[in-house]
């Protein structure tokens, strides 16, 4: 019993320290700034952005694609690790689920920022056309949000019950909320059975849902004629890219939470090692898709493709492109292939690098293609030949990122970030040397 007490003490949500408060406040401030900027944008129109008739999608869409991609981590880690019954997943899965939830919610919100007429949102439902990939997106994103929430929620039930008990003395109010959310969880066999079955179903469901989400997202681009988008590869490319972004984000967040909540005993170097291997695998696959995506048009050298690729390889996007490829993929692969590179701190930096690289990668998918239309760009202001986001766009984008972090922070604050019940069970199991059934 003693062991489980320390366990609960260690893992129960704690109040933030000073750093935590500063962090939260900063996020809130950035978010508010973003909201103000957005209101300004609604009033003045998107003229406050630097988008134009050629670069008609800017970092809003890139950011949206990034969020969608990152949210894939839920599907990847949760489902794949859960179904393959990997023992090391326990302390990591919930963080992944939280990231997924935060990102997919923010993805749903950011896409609205890009809408010219957010007031007509309802038209999507009133006049929705099944033929349009956007409607597919409209359908799949809420679905995915719900699945993500459920996948987060179901395994939480036992923990919430524990927390209700745990906080019943110190924070009765909190305890009451936990109680409400725990749905009278007692841990009876019947409840357990239902819970396990539900988790299993959701875990299976989230894989196709995640795949469809990424694919639909890819089809937003690949169903169009534009050079650089019109590629049969896009769906698989996005899926592999999403795994990289998601796992990268996961590594980063895990490191921060481990540090902040002092969970070194639960999230050990062993976990980082495994995560590192996982990340390097995803990176390798993504690199492979990248090679295919760029080498084939380069080799067949169709006229428009060549111009487009030259822009990326040696034109104005070259620094960014090579940063994304080398910094976002090659360096992580090299570092993570070594055992020393899979220690927590280097992993954190690599994770950060991967996330930043992934973000810019989305920018490179969206913008250069738009600036390379079939008919030449003529008769428009010089500034329309290029695109770089305006202050408004940056503020709003950062605010969305801050909001995503805020959601994560909020969930970390109020939820046990490492499943208490399961950890306890596992400890029990290793003691008695019995295999644990999922």
């Amino acid at each position: 019993m003693k062991a489980s007490d320390t366990l609960i003490n260690d893992l129960a949500p704690q109040k933030f320290g000073r750093k935590g408060v500063i962090w939260t406040t900063a996020l809130i401030i950035i978010s508010i700034a973003g909201i103000i900027a957005y209101i300004d944008q609604v009033i003045k129109g998107q003229v406050v952005t630097n988008m134009n008739d050629y670069a008609l999608w800017g970092i809003y869409i890139s950011n949206f694609v990034f969020f969608v991609a990152t949210s894939f981590v839920g599907a990847v880690t949760v489902a794949v690790l859960r179904l393959t019954d990997n023992a090391w997943r326990t302390p990591i899965v919930r963080i992944a689920e939280i990231i997924s939830v935060a990102c997919i919610i923010m993805a749903g919100l950011t896409i609205m920022i890009d809408m010219g007429r957010p007031d007509r949102l309802m038209n999507l439902f009133i006049h929705g056309r099944m033929q349009s990939p956007i409607i597919w997106d409209v359908i799949i994103i809420p679905t995915y949000i719900v699945i993500c929430l459920l996948l987060l929620y179901f395994p939480l039930l036992p923990d919430l019950a524990i927390l209700k008990k745990h906080f019943s003395q110190t924070h009765p109010k909190l305890s009451k909320w936990y109680g409400k959310f725990s749905l009278n969880w007692t841990g009876s066999d019947k409840q357990k059975k239902i819970q396990l079955k539900s988790i299993h179903i959701i875990a299976i469901l989230i894989i196709p849902a995640g795949f469809i989400l990424q694919t639909v997202d890819a089809w937003l681009f690949s169903t169009l004629f534009r050079v650089g988008w019109d590629s049969t590869n896009m769906g698989a490319y996005f899926i592999s890219g999403a795994s990289v972004a998601g796992v990268g984000a996961l590594v980063t967040v895990v490191y921060v939470i481990r540090k902040a909540n002092k969970l070194e005993n639960y999230i050990t170097e062993y976990h980082f090692d495994k995560l590192g291997k996982f990340l390097v695998l995803t990176c390798l696959i993504y690199l492979y898709f990248n090679i295919n995506e760029y080498v084939i048009p380069e080799f067949t050298s169709k006229k428009e493709e060549v111009t487009h690729l030259n822009h990326l390889y040696s034109g104005q996007y070259a620094p960014l492109f090579w940063f994304v490829i080398i910094g976002g993929l090659v360096i992580p692969i090299i570092v993570l292939l070594f055992k020393k590179g899979r220690k927590p701190l280097p992993m954190f930096y690599i994770g950060l690098l991967v996330v930043v690289g992934s973000w810019w990668k989305r920018f490179l998918i969206v913008t250069p293609t738009l600036l390379q239309p079939f008919l030449p760009i003529q008769g428009v202001p010089e500034s329309w030949h290029h695109y770089f986001p305006s202050i408004h766009e940056w503020v709003i984008t950062f605010a969305t990122l801050a909001m995503a972090l805020l959601i994560i922070t909020f969930l970390v604050r109020y939820l046990p970030i490492i499943p208490i019940q399961r950890t306890a069970d596992e400890q029990e199991a290793t003691k008695t040397n019995k295999p644990l059934s999922s």
């Binding site: 080799f299 067949t300 050298s301 169709k302 006229k303 428009e304 493709e305 060549v306």
Partner: protein
């Protein structure tokens, strides 16, 4: 007037002379021909016969090669890989003049000793869209500046020369057919089976003539470099009765169809020249002039063999014509 004119249409002769005079190189080539004849050296046989009248009044059929001699015999394989120095050959095909007379196809087939069905030059009936007007498209090899066929060849059997011509060395071709699949213009053909004429070794093989062909190798239009070396037009251009095919050197900026010689750039500019499937980025060296104000209605082109006509049965306009009873 002291000079006497022969009766035969002076117009004809005038044209003939004009051309002769316009040509600087051919005069030299002609001279060499004479000398060859006089010495009677370097004679080879081939299947082709020419009918002449001897001074003793006999009509004699002699082997063409025995009284004709191409200088390609002295072209070394290295030279044939390099090309004619400082040239860049282009062809311009005026679609408004083509009436599917198929003389280019026949001329080409005869010169390259091709079978009836093996065509380096194909005349295709094209219709870009349902409303678009149908037109006859003579289609040689495009001798692209970014030739996908050359890129994929594993042995360098097909190669691009400095003068822009893409040739095949059938002594090096291993017959993997990759070049055929990579050519977006379907310009290449394959020697599927064995034929007797492949054994005729009387003429030494050169990539510039592609004669004799070899079984299991790839062939295609070659812009007739053997003729170019003599300063003459490729066979398709010289045999076209309508003057559809202009040929020349892009560096010189001069193209000719045999009867008129014009500036290449001016012709392209005035007549809206374009290249086929430009967006593939292959950069062909064959330009087309759109079929604007065409000289013959497209129906005139159906005045060919029933069998050839049958090729175009899938083109929508042919079906339409058939319904209207025009065919």
């Amino acid at each position: 007037m002291a000079n006497k004119k022969t009766e035969n249409g002076s117009e004809n002769r005038r044209n003939f002379l004009r051309l002769g005079l316009m040509s600087s190189v051919s005069a030299v080539a002609g001279a060499s021909l004479i000398s060859n004849l006089a010495t009677g050296e370097e004679k080879k046989a081939s299947g082709e016969k020419v009918r002449v009248l001897t001074p003793d009044g006999k009509m004699v059929e002699v082997d063409a090669e025995s009284i004709n001699n191409y200088p390609e015999a002295v072209i070394t394989p290295e030279e044939s890989r390099k090309g004619i120095p400082d040239k860049k050959f282009v062809m311009v095909i005026d679609l408004s003049k083509c009436k599917n007379a198929r003389k280019c196809v026949e001329g080409c087939q005869k010169a390259h000793k091709l079978d009836d069905h093996q065509e380096f030059m194909k005349v295709q009936l094209m219709q870009n869209n349902e409303e678009g007007s149908p037109y006859w498209l003579p289609k040689p090899c495009f001798h692209c500046d970014e030739p996908p066929c050359v890129t994929v060849c594993p042995t360098g059997a097909t190669f691009k020369r400095d003068d822009g011509i893409v040739l095949i060395d059938n002594e090096r071709c291993i017959g993997c057919k990759f070049c055929i699949t990579s050519c977006p213009y379907s310009a290449r053909t394959f020697n599927w089976g064995h034929k007797e004429k492949f054994d005729d070794k009387s003429q030494p093989y050169s990539p510039e003539t592609q004669v004799p062909a070899a079984e299991g190798t790839v062939m295609k239009c070659d812009f007739c470099p053997d003729m170019l070396r003599q300063g003459k037009l490729p066979y398709c251009a010289s045999s076209c009765p309508m003057g559809v095919i202009y040929f020349g050197d892009k560096n010189e900026d001069i193209v000719t169809n045999g009867t008129e010689t014009v500036s290449f750039s001016q012709l392209i500019k005035d007549r809206g020249g374009y290249r086929h499937l430009e967006h593939l980025g292959t950069k062909p060296n064959v330009y087309y002039l759109p079929a604007v104000n065409r000289q013959f209605p497209v129906e005139r082109g159906f005045d060919v063999d029933e069998e050839i006509l049958d090729r175009y049965k899938d083109v929508p306009i042919v079906k339409e014509f058939k319904e209207q009873g025009k065919l």
